[in-house]
Point group: D3
Chain length 303, copies 6
């Protein structure tokens, strides 16, 4: 590409052309794309209605919170409904270049949004168990409130439990964006498809990855750098191609603890009550109430 | 929970009830909760007074910085004092539901805040040694200024050295929030209780965790993914329950280097001048001037 | 340091004095320092011209994007030119304390900025291949657009490909700041000096580090926690001191896959088409089309 | 004053000294002064609860407005209460320099604020009659809504009816600030002490002044540049000194129209149903159902 | 109305009920109301495209302005189109309570908006003559640019010439809102229906009012406090009721000057080249090239 | 002008061409134009240093104000210096199209700015007398502080006394912009050239105009709608053309009161201690201690 002496106008034309040529690279219909800024505001509001006082207006008390929750719920409903519609149109934007609002899309989005809003009390209930689990699981935690205020685990779980509901309702793209917001903020990367039971807690959390088809039981605790991933590493000679949508991530049963840096790959089951040690590499089923650790002993020499 | 046909008003009522039922879940007295937004502004201002020009107003020079530092210090004092009081009230909010400002709390907060402000020159002095250490420790660093501008290590240490002073003064909840801000921004998770000596440096840093009762000496360098944690992994058959507040994290003596991904657990001592290799797993004392590495050799096959 | 009874004014004076004493610690000439806020706005605008609709104004369509791209390019040019000049002055600020604008610096900055702008179409072309690679490489990706919207890999690569061009043009400090912005947002730490081929993809990405002198081929895929670093760990008894600027990071040839947590250190070459397994530790050349994995088997006991 | 060679620091010291020397010129106690910014936000919120949709959130409909009104009322209560207290402290700041919050002041402020909030429905009812009057009184008005959206009269009356209630409750300084906000926005200057009946309307309004002790009846219409002032102009030889607080402004009875530029001075009564012509100068009582006009005929010459 | 002991919730309910009861008082359909905030942003953008550099981005030069004008035009088109539709729905909101977007309304709004945009060059041409007139007409003006930057006349005329085009196109409510914005900012109140010729200038301007059916010729100059109004003042005994929409304001022919405080009422014609003196009261036709002044001589006495 | 079927791109081109064709209409060199936004921020800061607590940070007390004043003064100096330079370049932009920063301009601007800053204590002293005058002159004023907080007179005088100093220093365009800001906010239009003595007060103020060459003595009080203008109205047959820069506005001696709506035109002198009645029209010298009133008596009839 000869780029000597291009001026602003030329560069703009080339960039425009590049965006136009690729079907996926930008929008062809009049419905705007989902807006990361708007979705970010929605999540800020959702945090404020789920844990009033901790997030949003710090002056909220038990006496006056009802007014603010109702107002925020109304605003969330209106914004989220629009984003759900944008998300739907975005996903089909490569296929056709419709010019008018799809009436069904709009109706659909409203219905999906309403269904989601009705799930908020259940989301709140689950998060409340997560708060308990965090308090119980970290010797450094002094109050329940501290775990809401300061723990990346809870921030990641608010986003996840919201994204997971939207994912289950079949909402397009939006759940992924919400999950990635939490990933960016906390270093915890949970795919919205993952199913997480009550009382879930991830301590520290940076680098932990939980894959799309994971199923995690009740009262499970993870640490930083844990991977619950797909066994995509080809064994000797084999060529196992991962088909999309297959169950390919671990099942973790109730009351399991997985320490920092452990890697669990493939559709294996970690049995109830097991403890997986740090830095271990697990690619097979683990029986109930097992303890798994690695045998590696470092070599120590004097310098 | 039957959630068919709930409208905004119903959902708001349920969420409000949920927040009211749990003692910890929101505020019962009239003092507002600590505000993450305000604390975030305080940290922005503190960075600007500690490293004027790098953070805050980019036009500050050695000639005019005094005016801006003084004005910011005054604003910080006023905001921080309020947050310290909110933090105190927050921590006792579950126990009693007082309705009026606790006069002692307010006085206390002022006194604590003032004591903290007087420690700023010492915090600045320590951070200055950290800048030197970063410059000396990274072959890619070209100027001292670059390490202030671009290194996550310094950002994490500004927050830590501030949070640690507040922690030592007995300030509630606020130090944890400040620490978590740095964790979110840098991926480096240092508990405000940890004691870190001069000339501390963490290269890259993502995923590094330093526990509450760690004591780290002078001139220590860490890399990404290092854990200085508690040995909470139960040995075979044993059941060591971690009591809160016990010294449970490593002591790292002067001039130690710990490479990426090393895990050091429990109240062990890493002797002066030792080098801990990457990916090692250390749960015992290491003598002075040792070098520790893991013996793992990968298996290489042709595909 | 006796700090009893210091008031705001005293503390400001001490902090000012501390900043003045250290040559690096703040600015001595009248050119302002580079501004992280302004550079952050520049990156927001650059994302919007490279992927209009995804970033920036969500209402942009293929019909109207040209206007907005041109206007943003003009604003970017003006802001970036100023920052490049500030970056240059920053780097020489310790040496001399000039009082007037260096005319050559200003001219130079304009020329460098213009050269950078002309490289944008090439940057866009490379990123377009990265989008393809992300879509092909992740079974969870449903549309190309999703990889632009949600994948930290692409965000890190936008910043990197921009920073790398500026680095190649000899721009001071600015490339590092841009790289660190992506590091903070994604947990992916790529030094602006690293050379990355087409179709590059990092899945999840948290904790991945790519060093300054890395050379990465075409169609390479990485996962989270991968280190492409310098072999700074001293072997037994040896004392290899890393000289600045030497080629000290790996060469990764085309079509290589490196799984989560792998550590590759030193100026070694990973041969074309090889697969490096998770958690491996590689410090030697790897022949083409090899598969590397670690032999570690965990020990499993019942609790 | 010798001001050669003053630098920033000197100038700051002089300005500080000037502010300190004058009892009134700044604050001596720890309660902050009333904040114009906060009061401005309060008025924005009050407009939004009184005329939802017109002011504030444009998406509000009759279905969802209740949530937003309640949340805004709660926020207004909290902010206004604080400002009322600041206003009280401000007014006594010249007299004593108390250092602690006056407990009575705080209680008082809460009580006054609550009493004001309870008057909002009555304020709304009065404003509703003003809207009717504006629609009936201006041949250019096409809908009632237009008079809410576009008429300075209504904006001035919202502020006035709010300020008048606060004035009646004995709130210090705040009512004047609110009145001046409307003056700045509309050019209509109504003292908060003025008593205005239902269905009040001022067309165009710029330059209209209504004094503190005015009493205006029902269904009165004014135009721009009307003065309802005090007869402070000394007649020949006389020297009538205006004592503070005396009734010194006109009484305007029901159904009066006063055209542009009319000046009515002193405690005179404009009788029911009268019409005061433009540019007239009235300093005596006017009987009921009078029409008053000036006899001035211009002189016309050809140039 | 008994308002003792009302709490926030009760007050919110009453206010909601009040807004619901009055047909005009708020919105009944799902199309949001016109937004003063959005319209204000549109006017800021329109000023920036009509006089680039003076308004909006101060760095715009003749070289780069094209990009910014195009981008702003596109944004204006999109926002204005939406506001035009909201304005239409607003005006019919009292009559029916439609629930879905009127497809015709949307199409109509787009068409009207496009027609308006095409008139911008003509609006710019007219305003350019107004700038010339301001420079020629004020001995205090030193450069043409000064009249754009500082003269309320031009600000009022930008809004008026924009609002007048929209008014002519039949756009509802929006033109009035735009006119009132200028009124609030400048104290000059021009009804969007008024027809103003080239080279129009109002010096100082505060309090000047120009009515809906005024027709003003070329090169006319006004001063502050001038009223071009309707003769609504009933003559002795008469009862002339103003019918809506009738031509009821003055016709001012070319090259007329009207000095401060002059009042001209009714459908009279001020003949070409006439000069109307300050404070005069004119309710009859004035022949061409007349000079009109009032004969009032003040009485002077020594105190 | 044929405007059918123009699209955005065409309209942008025409508007650009229009701006390019007129010498005055936009900028030809690289120095940006003065920025109304920046100047507005400068005035906000200046108000805060002149009356700390009233404007700006409401928490400022006599104890801590020194820090904030110094920091603001430094920021003002830097911004104002830049605007002064922009103002200079703006005024010569029509004549030549220089491409580089005029070194002399920059130096000059710094010097002018510094001289202005040194005048701030004198400006503050004058304003302090204005506060006294406002308190003494308005029976409705209850405290001195109220006159600072609420009186448009003081806001207009802060801007005027600042603008007048800049005007005297020969600063281009900036003083006019500052004056117009006050005009827009208060309806009081004072040309920056006007010389106003101590203890100046304008009650209500809307519509008052004070011309460029006015000289006003000590302790003068004005009301709304007063004009101190040029006698530009041609007397019968005469043709007095106003030359630019001539002394053409009134001289008002000490202790004069001028009531609402009075018009004083031409270089006449209002003698010491005189009282000018409302609505009077004065075009001749008035002896000392005169009282002037108009003889107009309205005609009163019953309807």
């Amino acid at each position: 590409m000869k780029d000597i002496n291009l001026n602003i106008s030329d560069i703009a034309n080339i960039l425009t052309e590049q965006s136009r040529q690729e079907a996926w690279s930008s929008h062809h219909c009049d419905i705007p794309m989902p807006s990361i800024r708007v979705l970010s505001e929605i999540m800020i509001s959702l945090r404020a209605v789920l844990f009033p006082g901790y997030f949003g207006l710090s002056k909220v008390t038990t006496k006056n919170m009802n007014y603010h929750i109702a107002a925020k719920l109304d605003s969330i409903t209106s914004s989220l409904c629009e984003q759900i519609m944008c998300g739907h149109c975005f996903d089909c934007s490569g296929d056709k270049s419709g010019d008018s609002i799809c009436i069904n899309c709009e109706k659909n989005a409203k219905e999906l949004c309403l269904q989601f809003m009705r799930r908020l009390p259940e989301i709140r209930r689950l998060l409340s168990t997560d708060v308990e689990a965090a308090f119980d699981g970290d010797p450094a935690a002094k109050t329940h409130g501290e775990t809401v205020f300061c723990y990346p685990s809870l921030k990641a779980l608010i986003n996840h439990r919201v994204a997971h509901e939207l994912y289950n309702l079949g909402v397009q793209i939006i759940p992924r964006i919400i999950a990635e917001m939490a990933h960016s903020e906390t270093g915890i990367d949970i795919h919205p498809g993952a199913t997480l039971g009550e009382r879930f807690f991830i301590d520290h959390g940076t680098g932990t990855v939980i894959g799309e088809t994971c199923i995690v039981g009740r009262n499970v605790r993870l640490y930083q750098g844990v991977t619950l991933g797909a066994k995509s590493f080809p064994k000797e000679g084999s060529s196992e191609q991962l088909a999309k949508g297959l169950a390919r991530h671990p099942i973790v049963e109730d009351n399991v603890i997985i320490y920092a840096g452990a890697t669990i790959l493939g559709r294996v089951t970690i049995g109830e009550g097991s403890v997986i040690g740090g830095n271990t590499w697990v690619t097979t089923d683990i029986p109930k109430k097992s303890s798994v650790f690695h045998k590696d002993q470092p070599i120590i020499k004097s310098v």
